[in-house]
Subunit: 345 residues, 2 copies
């Protein structure tokens, strides 16, 4: 049914060596034979057996992605988008993505150990890191190549791709300060997430520059779609005018959606009585520009991050000696209609 290397080489009157080399782009084979081989391979639909190649090279051609432990709508949506990016780029580069999951009882460790020992994957992609993530020490101990999507506080240098959360929220808060806002609220993610702390830091830094106390600043309990935005917004916006924030910065579009609904109900026009900025992960079908009015946002595509993470990891696999693949992406602040000067009261 499916032809193998030996058959193909016999058919071409060449050795397996030559055919293999021709196909894999080695220099020691003439262009002439190479094209002859490629044509024949194409014609007969030859594809090297993944299993055999894996055994011979000791590489599995597979990257592992671990499901986040946490589960909620936002996390799931973000993860799916991230995963999509990973799979897309991986398949471009000839790699497979397999999924791993840590189940109830199991220790995180056993799962990773298992993956490593049976050599199922060449590297792992870890997402949603905690402040001090034990997995990175584990990976190092296991000598398993890996890359983190996000950052952690672990001491030693490690490979990661992250976005400049601090800078993004600094920019956002600064914009509001520049516009004249004095009472600015932050709806953040959970404090245990590193990105939430980064965002808070950036936010505070901007306020500090303007000598504005970060009084209204709040750390939220969850990223729940809308619900959390609704709750916090209700609590804050119902306050008497002198205490009411004139601007809010949200960690997700979902929160912004909730805030925006509450504002509308209270008759506060977004961009006038209330300025609103949110972070936009560029999820599919949820766009800051589709808000009413279009939302000023710090934006960074989570799907692109998935692609890049795979790229970095694969580069690292191909050349383990090269410098650690660590990268911080700047985040754009796109100003739209949801931000304006504070109301004159």
């Amino acid at each position: 049914m499916v032809m193998n290397l030996r058959e193909l080489s016999e058919l071409l009157n060449l050795s397996q060596t030559t055919v293999s080399r021709a196909l894999n782009g080695f220099p020691e084979v003439s262009e002439d034979t190479r094209s002859r081989v490629k044509a024949a391979a194409d014609l007969h639909g030859y594809r090297p057996s993944a299993a055999a190649r894996r055994l011979a090279t000791g590489q599995s051609g597979t990257l592992g992605v671990v499901f986040p432990r946490e589960r909620n709508m936002l996390v799931d949506l973000i993860f799916t988008e991230f995963l999509r990016g990973c799979v897309e780029r991986a398949s471009d580069l000839g790699y497979d993505i397999t999924l791993a999951m840590v189940r109830g009882q199991q220790t995180e460790e056993s799962v990773y150990r298992r993956a490593v020992r049976s050599a199922r994957v060449d590297g792992m992609i870890l997402s949603s890191p905690l402040i001090d993530d034990p997995r990175i020490d584990l990976m190092r101990d296991l000598k398993m190549p890996y890359i983190l999507h996000g950052r952690t506080r672990n001491a030693a240098p490690y490979p990661y791709l992250d976005i400049d959360n601090e800078g993004a929220f600094y920019k956002a808060a600064k914009l509001l300060c520049d516009l004249g806002h004095r009472r600015i609220a932050l709806l953040n993610g959970e404090d245990k997430n590193n990105f939430a702390q980064d965002r808070e830091r950036g936010f505070r830094a901007a306020l500090a520059e303007y000598g504005i106390p970060a009084l209204l600043h709040m750390l939220s309990g969850s990223l729940m779609v809308e619900q959390h935005g609704v709750e916090v917004a209700t609590r804050l916006l119902m306050r008497p005018v002198p205490e009411r924030p004139t601007a809010m910065v949200c960690s997700s579009l979902s929160q912004a959606m909730g805030v925006s609904k509450v504002a509308r109900q209270l008759g506060l026009r977004i961009g006038h009585e209330l300025s609103l900025i949110a972070h936009d992960d560029r999820l599919h079908e949820i766009h800051a520009e589709a808000f009413e009015p279009p939302l000023t946002a710090t934006q960074s595509s989570i799907g692109e991050a998935g692609k890049k993470v795979v790229e970095l990891l694969i580069n690292h696999l191909r050349d383990p000696e090269a410098r650690l693949p660590s990268e911080v992406w700047p985040v754009d602040l796109v100003v739209r209609a949801s931000t304006g000067p504070p109301p004159k009261t």
Copy 2:
């Protein structure tokens, strides 16, 4: 670093054959040696190399799952949950899950062919089938074992797991008819999906039994979270009382959420002026019982479906001669507080 079979066998003064058999539970090895072998394997952390085993057995120990072509919040959430189920059960059964994706330009076919020829996967799991899904003929041509999550209209028998959508919506509509409702609306999924057609059929069948015209019945354009529910509900519930539906059946909790909000705004109490039933996929953190009031729902866990699909496919792989793994799950109708007799007007 990692010990292999030869080393382990030398260490035990046994042949590789015996060690392999002991570990894989073959009968022709004494319980005595078996436990000795297992202990040693455990002690030294021996794990057979996946690549070598794959090459030797011709089985990859891997199942492929294909990303749905469509993308929106609901699809993504459902897919993630389904995937989670797949990964969970697969890992229990010693299988890996790798993801495949059909990209923009690529034909569906090329993607599947590639997977088959390089023998990366032993079987594929296809989800969100179309009415007449070309993939099932393709799978058959390629002789790739597969299973469908959902059903299609293709003529020849094929392996699938589906829930009884028709029966579920029949039950839901019948309940409403029994309660005395006469104007019942259906908010369905897109017509191109097989499950939507099944649901419509069940819905119509119940109404027909009661001689009720399915006038208010509507096929919706999208499954968008809430938005669609809001739109349709607004259109229907703003009508004059004699034309207004007294009950609605939704295809998803998200739609129901939208309907419910509109009803609340119009001062219609769910369970009194408006009865509401929705299909509940048992997604994480979105529960029919958490609605206000708790929602009567037809429910079936998409995560469990993922698990079962993997089970069926693996059984099929282990015994290809056995009967086609095709199964229809009954769907429970759980009556809660959102349904009651129609208002007396």
